[in-house]
């Protein structure tokens, strides 16, 4: 399915974009991570979390076509 993914901070820097379409072949967050790391090998060494509809989710979560997806590096607020 076709997703639009938001990237932030050092992740946006690594993938060269803050928002871009991505064709997901699998269906879970775990699939997404694998496919992202294949496309952007720089992610392999980095620590990041996936938010689906603005909530942090686990690897087993299934992704739907209209979901708002974000790839978040470590937080640095404060």
């Amino acid at each position: 399915m076709k997703l639009t993914i938001n990237y932030f901070g050092m992740i946006a820097e690594a993938v060269g974009s803050s928002k871009a379409d991505f064709e997901l072949h699998g269906k879970t967050v775990s699939d997404l991570k694998n496919e992202l790391e294949n496309t952007f090998p720089d992610l392999l060494g980095m620590s990041y979390q996936i938010a689906v509809n603005q909530k942090l989710v686990s690897s087993e979560t299934e992704i739907m076509e209209q979901d708002e997806i974000a790839v978040l590096p470590p937080f640095a607020g404060g």
């Binding site: 938001n6 932030f8 901070g9 050092m10 820097e13 938010a51 603005q54 909530k55 974000a70 978040l72 590096p73 470590p74 937080f75 640095a76 607020g77 404060g78």
Partner: protein, 148 residues
Amino acid sequence: MTKERKPKNVFVEGAIPPEKIATSIAHHQVKTNIGAHDIFLGQIRADEIDGKIVTAIEYSAYEDMASQAIHEIREAAFEKFDLTCMHIYHSLGRVKAGEICLFVFTSSAHRKECFEATRFIVEEIKSKAPIFGKEVFEDETHVWKENR
């Protein structure tokens, strides 16, 4: 019946000026059930990293999610502590070393509540709000900040 509060806008473009803090304090002088205020301010440190000095942090955020996260932190704090008032502001964009990037202000009848609430809120924001910081050096190179 629980009071419903909408997410407030916590983001400020650039540094938080000291006058904003004074104004906020002054606004509380009509609330004569308040006996204690505790204010936390986060300030940008000119840290040395691998021989280079940080001159600013450039903040960005996943704004909708961060606003929602901070809204939930606010609700949790009102639930846990007997507070009269609470204000939270965080900078976005560039904040120079020495300037203020976070302003958390709680007020209560007695000191214990606001002391504990401010600390709780600061810890929660650091761990739960998707805010990102780029530490910029004098030569405009940078590293990414990470909360511990």
